[in-house]
Each structure stands twice: as structure tokens, then as C-alpha cells.
């Protein structure tokens, strides 16, 4: 679809302009806090789908992500999952092994047809920026999210370990103590604040001010602000200072409430 859009709609000439280079991440919302080791299996299936779909880059989730920041062990298993698919399974040995599958080609056409309908609808609203301002895609997504959750709640969509094949919670394996996570967070925050104070105390503040002023001027004139921001961060301007200037120029966004 992307190749068609670039070729037909935008008249791109270079083949590279038509390449959809994609990174794929396995889904976070499909992971369960219940029986978390089952997530290793979910991630494997999802990563395999990404490979068979032709991804250029893949992130596999760690099985403990619903409980805490991934531990080293869980991260390693996630990485090993990709390595096993890549080097043991043989799926990487043939180009597009599923091409020509009757089901898959039919399903691809079906998805494509439905996606074009959405794109046409957005085009008729004047493009995506206008559609967002009207709340159109937000509303569509909210409706699907409701249906999905309703499906899980009613058992129509089975989630192993959540609405079927449950085990007693007390048998569930919990790898990390939440109190420990909170304590570590406080340590990180203290360390980070100390470093920020130190940087602010040792940098040339007048220089930072003048660099920030240049960003403001460029933003007000509608120029490309990038080169001015590079100058400012080299002088150790903070992220918040740079964004603060741009907030003052551009204003802040207020969310449209979708009901």
C-alpha cells in the first residue's frame, strides 16, 4: 500500500522512496500479569509473525513487563527468542515463505480494501490533521478498544490465564517486590536532581540564555529551529528549557474529550 501511495499519489521515482522499512514490537497489551511466564510463548508467536511479515527490525517484550521494569534475565530470554527464530527455526532461510498462501493472500486483500476505505474517509475530511481536530480517529479507536475489552470481559475473546485456565493467584510467581521498586526510584531521582544542579551551577548561564533566545526568534519567524537547538544543548541548556521556549511560542495542546 505504501509503495502504491508513494508511486501513484506522490509520483516518487526512487524505489527506496517506496520501501516500507519497518520496526516491529510485540504487543504490550497482550501480555498478562497472571502466569507471566506464558508471555514468553505469546512473544514468540508475535515475533514469528513479524518475521514472516518481513520486518527490518524487531523488539521482543520481556515476559515480566506487566509486573516491573524488565529484569536482566527476562530481557535475555526476549533476545534469545529472536535468536532462536533467526538461527534455529529455518524461517529466515527463504524469502517470503508464505507468499501465495490462498488464505493469507485473501486476508491481505481484505485488510487492504478496508484500510483504503479509512484512508478515503480521512482524505475527504481534508487529511489527518483535520480529522484529528475533529476527533475522528480517536473516536474510531475508542470504539474498538471498548469492543475488545467487552470481548474479554464476556469471555468472547479468550485470554489464557485471565478469563480461562486461571490458577489460584497465590500460586502465581511474582519476581519482584513493589516496595523495592519505589525505593530504587527515589535513589534514581535524587541522583538525577543532583547532577542537574551540578550542570546548572557549572555552565555559562548567560551563554545558555542567549542560545535559548535564538531558538525563540527562529520559532517565531517559522525557521527551522534544529541548528539553534544543537547550539543550545552544546552549551548545556536543559531539555525543559528548550521545550519551555517552544511551549511559549507554540502554546500547549488541550485534549478533545471524546464521549
Amino acid at each position: 500500500m505504501w509503495a502504491k501511495i508513494m508511486h501513484e499519489r506522490f509520483d516518487a521515482k526512487k524505489l527506496r522512496s517506496m520501501w516500507m522499512r519497518m520496526h516491529v514490537q510485540t504487543s504490550g497489551v497482550t501480555l498478562t500479569a497472571q502466569q507471566p511466564v506464558n508471555n514468553v510463548v505469546r512473544v514468540t508467536i508475535q515475533a514469528l509473525a513479524a518475521v514472516l511479515g518481513g520486518a527490518q527490525s524487531i523488539h521482543t517484550n520481556s515476559f515480566d513487563e506487566t509486573l516491573c521494569l524488565p529484569t536482566e534475565e527476562a530481557v535475555r530470554i526476549a533476545l534469545r527468542t529472536q535468536q532462536i527464530i533467526a538461527y534455529e527455526s529455518g524461517v529466515a532461510d527463504v524469502v517470503d515463505p508464505l507468499g501465495g498462501s490462498y488464505y493469507l493472500e485473501w486476508l491481505t486483500d481484505e485488510i487492504e480494501e478496508r484500510a483504503w476505505k479509512y484512508i478515503d474517509a480521512i482524505d475527504s475530511m481534508g487529511g489527518m490533521i483535520r480529522a484529528i481536530e475533529k476527533g475522528y480517529p480517536q473516536r474510531e479507536v475508542a470504539e474498538s478498544a471498548y469492543k475488545y475489552q467487552h470481548g474479554i470481559d464476556t469471555g468472547r475473546i479468550p485470554i489464557v490465564g485471565v478469563n480461562c485456565y486461571q490458577v489460584d493467584e497465590s500460586e502465581d510467581w511474582v519476581p519482584i517486590n513493589p516496595a523495592w521498586v519505589v525505593r530504587r526510584q527515589k535513589e534514581y531521582e535524587e541522583k538525577q536532581l543532583q547532577r542537574l544542579r551540578m550542570v546548572k551551577a557549572t555552565r555559562n548561564s548567560a551563554n545558555v540564555e542567549s542560545k535559548l533566545e535564538k531558538i525563540r526568534k527562529a520559532a517565531e519567524k517559522g525557521e527551522n529551529v534544529f541548528p539553534y537547538v544543537i547550539d543550545a544543548v552544546k552549551a548545556y541548556a536543559t531539555l525543559g528549557e528548550v521545550c519551555g521556549v517552544l511551549r511559549e511560542v507554540y502554546g500547549e495542546w488541550r485534549e478533545i474529550i471524546i464521549i
Partner: protein, 300 residues
């Protein structure tokens, strides 16, 4: 794809199978459900045959890998030549902890870095901002100044590894820090490889981590695409993302359609800026989710 004689024979044979063989099975053992659907609500039949793809033109719709329309892959040899990049999203605590995790992942065979930033960084606030309290270093690494980036990339050769950064609103200051720290390592910006997410439209639809209104957000995105097209030929200035739209509850079809519609909006904005489509389009990249409905994910 198939000749008419074959299709008419198949069609007759299919009818015969449905009349003779199928009822024997369905009587003895009824199917588990009256209707099977994908996660996007597409009704799936019991069996697919060449009859379902009889209108498909092999050359127009599938073709060969490495050739238009790239349905069979964007490269001619795909993974036979090079396995995909194994790029694990990571970041937590301060730059020291994340630097240690990066080194660990590289040692274990990861082939690309991917940085997760904490909420204050994503929202463009410093760690000492009142909104940041309790969130510093929680969902990613905390970044305030170039100093943090110097520690983050300590001992990591930036000319050899590519880095993906999940940053949207504050893309410009974050990428500026990346460029500045690479310069300190003696690596000029034109050889840096990697990706910034830099896709605000999907934030409005899905994730909701928003700083500026849509118009200036897109203006800043185009600033990055324009800058990279001029000075950073190996950098992907945007990763147009369906992932967050999907995670917010969209179907696979909506994920695909809204992501492509976002992409169209960015291409139009760049052309409006006066750029030539072939000067920036080769560096546009995408980011999708992979859920449980196996074949639907592959087809998408």
C-alpha cells in the same frame, strides 16, 4: 493466476467436497463456533483455495522481492543476506543504569540500541519540574542535559551501532544531544545511523503524550526531516507508528490505515515546505505492533 479450465474444475470439485465429505465430518463433530473472526472482525472461512485469489494478478500484486510493489519483501534476498536488527527497547533510572543495560545487551548479541525515556523527558520537563516528581527514571532513562547523554553513551562506539530513540515532542533537543555527544566521540553527524520516533499525529490518536497543538507539532517534525535530509543521510528522521494506536485499542486494520494516513500527512507537509519527495521519502520508516492473531498480523 489460474486458467479458466482449472478454476471451473476446482469450483465443481469444491462443491462436491462440500456436499460429500464435509457433512460427514460436521455431523459427527460440529465446528467449535458458528463463526470465526480475526481481531479486526474479518470473518474467516473454513478453507481457502485458488478460488479465493482467482482475480489476483501475480505480477501486479505480488511480483518479486526487491521490486515494485514490494509485497514479497523490500529486499531481493531478505533474511538470507541479513537477519533483521534485534533492537531491544530499554532505559530506566539514570544514565549510568541504562548504560550498563546497553552494554549487557550488546554483549548478549543485540544488534541495535533502542532508548526508552522517562515521562518527564517525553513531556519536555526537567527532572526538577514539579510535574516530574515521582516519575524520574521510572518508565525510562531520565535526560536533562548533554551531561546525561555523555554518560549514557560512555564506552559505546556511536559510529558502529545504530540507535533508535522513542522521543516525539522533544525530538529536536534529544537528537541534538545525540549529535553533540557523537561529535565528542569524534563521530560526525553524517555517518550516524538510527531513528527518532518523531511522530506526533499518532500521539493525538493513541498515546496522548502531547506538548504542542497539531500544526506546530508537524512543523517541528518537518524541521527534523529537512535537517536530516541535508546533514544526516543515514538517519531515519521519523518512525511513523501504528504501535501506540494499536495498543490504545485499535484493530489491525485501523492501525494500518491511520498510520498510512499519518504518513500521507507528513509527506504532504514536507512537499509544502518545498522538499522533493525523493529527497526525504527513502528515510521515512515505520513502526507496527504484532499481536496474537497470527495470520492477520502477517497479512497486515
Amino acid at each position: 493466476m489460474f486458467d479458466l479450465k482449472f478454476l471451473s474444475k476446482l469450483s465443481k470439485e469444491f462443491e462436491r467436497w462440500e456436499k460429500e465429505t464435509l457433512p460427514k465430518w460436521t455431523c459427527r463433530l460440529p465446528e467449535r463456533k458458528s463463526e470465526f473472526v480475526t481481531s479486526s472482525g474479518i470473518k474467516v472461512k473454513r478453507l481457502y483455495t485458488p478460488l479465493d485469489v482467482k482475480d489476483m494478478d501475480y505480477f501486479c500484486e505480488l511480483g518479486f522481492p526487491g521490486e515494485y510493489p514490494f509485497t514479497r519483501g523490500i529486499h531481493a534476498t531478505m533474511y538470507r543476506a541479513r537477519i533483521w536488527t534485534m533492537r531491544q527497547f530499554s532505559g530506566f533510572g539514570t544514565a549510568e543504569e541504562t548504560n550498563r543495560r546497553f552494554r549487557y545487551l550488546i554483549k548478549e548479541g543485540e544488534t541495535g540500541l533502542s532508548i526508552a525515556f522517562d515521562y518527564p523527558t517525553i513531556m519536555g520537563y526537567d527532572s526538577d519540574h514539579p510535574m516530574a516528581s515521582g516519575e524520574v527514571g521510572v518508565c525510562g532513562v531520565a535526560i536533562d542535559t548533554l551531561k546525561d547523554f555523555e554518560i549514557l553513551f560512555d564506552g559505546i562506539p556511536m559510529d558502529k551501532i545504530t540507535t533508535s530513540m522513542t522521543i516525539n515532542g522533544p525530538t529536536i533537543p534529544i537528537l541534538s544531544m545525540y549529535i553533540a555527544v557523537a561529535e565528542k566521540q569524534g563521530v560526525p553527524q553524517h555517518i550516524l545511523g538510527g531513528t527518532v520516533q518523531n511522530d506526533m499525529l499518532k500521539e493525538f490518536i493513541g498515546q496522548k503524550l502531547i506538548i504542542w497543538p497539531p500544526e506546530p507539532s508537524v512543523k517541528l517534525i518537518v524541521d527534523v526531516i529537512e535537517y536530516c535530509a541535508k546533514y544526516m543521510p543515514k538517519w531515519n528522521p521519523i518512525s511513523i507508528s501504528g504501535y501506540h494506536i494499536r495498543e490504545a485499542g485499535a484493530t489491525a486494520v485501523q492501525e494500518l490505515a491511520f498510520t498510512l494516513a499519518d504518513a500521507i500527512a507528513y509527506v504532504e507537509a514536507c512537499i509544502e515546505r518545498g522538499m522533493n519527495v525523493d529527497d526525504f521519502a527513502p528515510r521515512l520508516s515505520f513502526f507496527f505492533a504484532s499481536h496474537n492473531n497470527f495470520f492477520e498480523e502477517i497479512a497486515k
